[in-house]
Amino acid sequence: MLDLSVNIGSVPLRSPVIIASGTWGYDESLWRDDLLRHVGAVCSKAITESPKDGNPGHRIWETPCGLLNSIGLQNTGIDDFVDEKVPKLKSYGVPIIANVSMEDERGLARMVERLMEVADCVAAIELNVSCPNVDKGCMSWGVSPVLTSQAVSMVREVWRGPLWVKMTPQAPDPEGVARAAEDSGADALVVANTWLGMAIDVDGRKAVFDRVVAGFSGPAVFPMALRLVWQVSSAVSIPVIGCGGVSSGRDLLAMIMAGATAIELGTGMFRDIRLPENILREVKAYMTEEKVEELRSLVGVAKK
């Protein structure tokens, strides 16, 4: 019997495949067992203190093997998440990871306090200090070890449950940020979020996005995300969750071999709604062929 279950600190997951924030909807028709049976957990869309309308203008732009997005954290706010979304989501039986987007300290404290009311329905908080698509806060916290540590400590004061920190690949010293998060009480690190990019509309002779820069994701970023996973997992002793461009079973295996305990899938879900199932089929075939019984035995093997 192949064992694909993993533990992210104290959070047991039946599958190493987690759906990344911002890439799965709340519509009931998506939370069917036949689609989600192969998924370990689903991250919520970023939650902010107040509802946000997101960015004007173009929001997505395809590139060869990649995707630029400038959504700008459109969401209905923490009160709607706690009062309306969580009661519905908990009935589906898939662990929910609350992706909390950090703008400022007061907002963060209020969000975590509200999440405490539904702590038994939230498998972990994923502290997002890494969104590149908003002017206020967010990524500016994640590029600095000191500010990351401050943010993590603030959540830790209120939140006793599992706490993951979603890092930005824009941090000049990713190991420093990772260690700061670990030392301040993070239980796991998600490595990483989107990469800063941009596009020019050559016909229109102007930048495609109103904010000029946008977040880059998809298969094109996989080698860079893999490198970060290797680096960060060597610098900390808490579990690392690989995120960036994963789109096949072999990508998942590479992330695990580089030191990740699980992975998050984002953009890949857009082109294949059954990607978790298809990835796991490939991983199981590999494990059978190679006589690997427990997926977790492969964590970091490429470094040994």
Binding site: T23, G25, D27, S29, L30, C65, Q74, R271, I273
Partner: protein, 248 residues
């Protein structure tokens, strides 16, 4: 979003170029064919694309024939040009049925189409019944497309900007001010925005937007409405004319 959205491997069962850059194809997809409703759409990907193009492409369904979906596709860029190179028997991946369609009319509707906007309206006509069908096209080069549509919809009233096909003018020249029949419209944004000035008693419009997921997850396809930003893929693509903020 209604129904059970899923990705289905499907085969192309028929293909025909209707003019220089418009492709008509049929894909066999029984489960979508039996559940799709007029105004809903599908997303397509060709397995031969690999990761580039990365995203699926959205298209309206223009008719359902038994287990087959019929689509009308204008070749505008990479994805659609690659699709035009595929043959009968080739594989596609089809996701659907997506979005909210037209609501069923209380009296005979008027269909108002700008060019490829005819696609969802032909399917609406197939399900809701014939009514006036007004089509506007640019002119030169659109003859074969118009012939193709007229073969399916003999009552079609055709306008062209340059007067080379049908009557000179736009589809809106076929509408009366204060139209009392329900209007179902699909075409360029400018055309649909202009319908506002005609003050029809009721009008539903089918909109387009660039899409990443098509399932309501990414918020990449939003438009401005009087209730704030709404997702074209899951809250639409059909909206009431008066809901949409046209100058956004």
């Amino acid at each position: 979003m209604s129904g059970n959205v899923d990705d289905f491997p499907c085969k192309i069962t028929a293909r025909e170029m209707v003019g220089e850059d418009i492709l008509s194809i049929r894909v066999r997809c029984p489960s979508i064919a039996e559940s799709i409703y007029p105004g809903q759409f599908v997303l397509l990907r060709d397995p031969s694309w690999g990761m580039d193009p990365l995203l699926m492409r959205p298209f309206a369904v223009s008719a359902v024939h038994g287990e087959d979906l019929e689509l009308l596709i204008k070749l505008v860029g990479r994805g659609t040009s690659l699709l035009a190179g595929r043959s009968v028997g080739d594989d596609l991946v089809v996701r659907g049925p997506m979005g909210r369609g037209f609501s069923s009319p209380e009296s005979s509707p008027i269909y108002v189409a700008g060019a490829l906007g005819a696609a969802p309206l032909l399917f609406a006509r197939q399900v809701f019944g014939a009514g006036r069908f007004v089509l506007g096209v640019p002119g030169e080069g659109w003859g074969p497309f118009v012939d193709y549509l007229e073969a399916r919809c003999p009552e079609m009233e055709v306008f062209s900007d340059d007067g080379s096909i049908g009557v000179r003018g736009t589809a809106l020249d076929g509408l009366e001010k204060g139209e009392s029949h329900p209007v179902y419209a699909c075409g360029p944004m400018g055309m649909m925005a202009a319908i506002v000035k005609l003050e029809p008693l009721s009008c539903q419009v089918s909109l387009e937007s660039r899409m990443a997921c098509g399932i309501g997850a990414c918020c990449g396809c939003v438009i401005e409405t009087i209730q704030g930003k709404r997702r074209v893929c899951a809250d639409g693509p059909v909206f009431n004319l008066e809901e949409v903020v046209w100058n956004a």
